[in-house]
């Protein structure tokens, strides 16, 4: 589904991603792990169109999409969440989700003045979909709160909610579990599996929580210093001496 070929990204003198190549197969939940600063988030940002690669190709469904703007990636079906939550602070939690669905007729300024019925009908659909997502994430009681008032973990959930508001094909989750309590983490895990089955999403998940990765992801790709160290099933990766050396150590994780 997605193939990355010889991707490079430098920030001034610092090369965050170097000659990185890997595949994400359709229908998988691919794990992306590696030490802090390995270039995981940077790779996501390039796939999602937020950063332009210094060189290399990103092929999504047979098209090279490297360097296209973010909204273009979104319309092709690539949606990402942020490691550090990026909520719309002054908008309510519900509005934060309602803004996401594409091609809302009311996004055209004139439609709001001339075809209000159509706009209103769509608003109801969008609202219902947002309410469903909030129910799923157990934050429906916060729907009317300004998103800026949420706790760190709740903001992570809102990030996840965003991916449920559109018919994405490939969802990139950047540490969905960081700062989320264990009960909810189980729920998120369940949600990811369910979304894959029910909606045919393909996932790529960055996580430092190895239990989450082990229970969800196959295959797992290990990045270190901007390049792929190895990939395979979690068991294979775990027993790889290079990975133990570079990241997992004696089974310890961050």
């Amino acid at each position: 589904m997605l193939t990355i070929e010889n991707l490079n990204k430098s920030f001034g003198g610092l090369q965050a991603v170097r000659n990185c190549s890997f595949n994400i197969e359709e229908g998988t939940i691919t794990g992306l792990i590696g030490p802090n600063g390995a270039g995981k988030t940077t790779t996501f940002s390039m796939i999602a169109g937020e950063l332009v690669p210094t060189s290399g190709r990103i092929v999504f469904e047979d098209n090279d999409i490297a360097g296209l703007p973010t909204h273009e990636m979104f319309h092709r079906g690539i949606v990402r969440t942020f490691q550090i939550p990026h909520e719309f602070a002054k908008m309510t939690v519900l509005e934060n989700l309602m803004v996401v669905p594409p091609e809302q007729p009311g996004e055209r300024l004139f439609a709001n003045w001339v075809s209000r019925g159509q706009v209103k009908r769509r608003e109801h659909e969008v609202r219902d979909r947002a309410e469903d997502a909030l129910d799923f994430l157990s934050i429906a009681h916060l729907g009317d709160e300004p998103a800026g008032n949420l706790s760190g973990g709740q903001k992570k959930l809102l990030e996840l909610g965003r991916t449920m508001m559109t018919d994405a094909k490939l969802v990139l989750l950047d540490e969905p579990g960081a700062g989320v309590n264990p009960t909810l983490l189980l729920k998120i895990r369940e949600m990811i599996s369910r979304l894959r089955e029910e909606r045919d999403y393909t996932f790529c998940v960055i996580e430092h929580d190895m239990d989450l990765i082990a229970s969800l992801c196959d295959p797992v790709i290990v990045l270190a210093e901007g390049t792929v160290l190895t990939q395979g099933t979690m068991a294979e990766v775990r027993s790889n001496p290079d990975v133990l050396d570079a990241y997992l150590g004696g089974g310890e994780e961050e």
């Binding site: 999602a48 169109g49 937020e50 703007p69 973010t70 909204h71 979104f74 319309h75 949606v79 990402r80 969440t81 942020f82 990026h86 909520e87 719309f88 602070a89 002054k90 908008m91 309510t92 519900l94 509005e95 309602m98 803004v99 996401v100 594409p102 809302q104 007729p105 009311g106 996004e107 055209r108 300024l109 709001n112 003045w113 706009v119 769509r122 608003e123 969008v126 609202r127 219902d128 309410e131 129910d135 157990s138 934050i139 429906a140 009681h141 729907g143 009317d144 706790s151 760190g152 973990g153 709740q154 959930l157 965003r162 559109t166 700062g179 989320v180 309590n181 009960t183 909810l184 729920k187």
Partner: protein
């Protein structure tokens, strides 16, 4: 009796000018309040509107381009369209820039317009400006001519207000707020933020040109000095901030309020002794600055702060199961 009539006329002029500024403030509100675009070149778009409408309606004159004598509807529409097109071109270049650079770029562009208006004498009569601009309702007897002109402006404000409130409460307004709140996230939500910003920038500049057209016809004269950044750009910003950014009623209130203060400061400073009189210009600006300070101390978010529309909630089907409050 005469004195009362004088006060009556003064109040009408106060409301008329306040109303023209309200249109400017509403225009800026679309850009800054809704979308977070820092336009520091209001004077430029104001001037474009004023000159376009003036030139299209005046009788032939050897001093400047003109003699088209078109109806007001056409000249007002043309003022807005020309300003919109120029805003589009400016936006193409500048909206890609970071917010603070947009401010600098728009200051520069407004100054360029001012210099063009001053120096392209064949078209604008240079520093002496365009005079004998016709004024709607001027053939009516006193004070009906003034009252009708005021009525026209107030009616225009009501229409703009209703249109903008609808826009603000719509999905369009929601996207605009999202862009203002978090650009990165708005992009991740699939919004073409450049396109949306362009819409806000163009719409705002069109309103500024409309205000410019009104001022040209109201004063019956327009010169490069009437589009001085101090009295247009700076004052409009103060109006919006005092009234309440991102609130249309705030923009309107702020305009009338600050214009009243600005105008009163003229009366005040005109009574000053001679040696101070030459400093009136500074003193008036100082008074406006002081007023801004006082209002912001009292109303840090403006007199009418932003109120985001709250979407109606769905009646909950499964109350009670959703109590997994989380924390880090």
């Amino acid at each position: 009796m005469d004195q009362f009539y004088g006060i009556f006329l003064y109040i009408i002029s106060l409301l008329t000018m306040g109303g023209i500024y309200a249109i400017l403030a509403l225009g800026l509100n679309i850009q800054w309040g809704f979308t977070g675009l820092f336009n520091a070149g209001i004077a430029g778009f104001f001037a474009i509107g004023a000159y376009v409408s003036a030139i299209l309606t005046t009788a032939p004159s050897l001093r400047h381009l003109g003699g088209y004598e078109l109806p007001y509807v056409v000249s007002f529409a043309a003022a807005m369209v020309v300003s919109g097109i120029i805003a589009w071109a400016v936006g193409k270049v500048c909206l890609k820039l970071r917010a603070d650079y947009l401010a600098i770029a728009t200051i520069g562009i407004a100054e360029i317009f001012r210099l063009i208006l001053k120096n392209e004498t064949w078209a604008t009569n240079g520093p002496r400006g365009v005079s004998m601009i016709p004024k709607p309702f001027e053939t009516l007897p006193e004070p009906w001519n003034h009252l009708c002109f005021l009525g026209l402006i107030l009616a225009v404000i009501v229409v703009i207000y209703l249109l903008l409130e609808t826009a603000r409460n719509s999905p369009w307004g929601r996207v605009m707020t999202a862009i203002r709140e978090n650009e990165k996230s708005a992009m991740a939500a699939g919004k073409d933020i450049e396109k949306f910003r362009m819409e806000a920038f163009v719409a705002g500049c069109m309103l500024m040109a409309l205000a410019g057209a009104f001022i040209a016809h109201y004063l019956k004269f327009i010169g490069p000095n009437a589009t001085d950044p101090l009295t247009s750009t700076f004052l409009v910003w103060v109006m919006l901030v005092v009234g309440g950014s991102a609130n249309n009623r705030g923009a309107i209130l702020g305009a009338f309020l600050m214009w009243t203060i600005w105008s009163a400061s003229e009366i005040l400073t005109s009574r000053l002794p001679d040696e101070l009189a030459i400093r009136t210009a500074y003193i008036r600006i100082f008074l406006i600055g002081l007023a801004l300070q006082i209002f912001l101390q009292r109303f840090p978010k403006g007199i009418f702060p932003e109120v985001r529309p709250k979407p109606e909630r769905r009646q909950s089907v499964s109350d009670g199961v959703t109590d997994n409050a989380t924390s880090r």
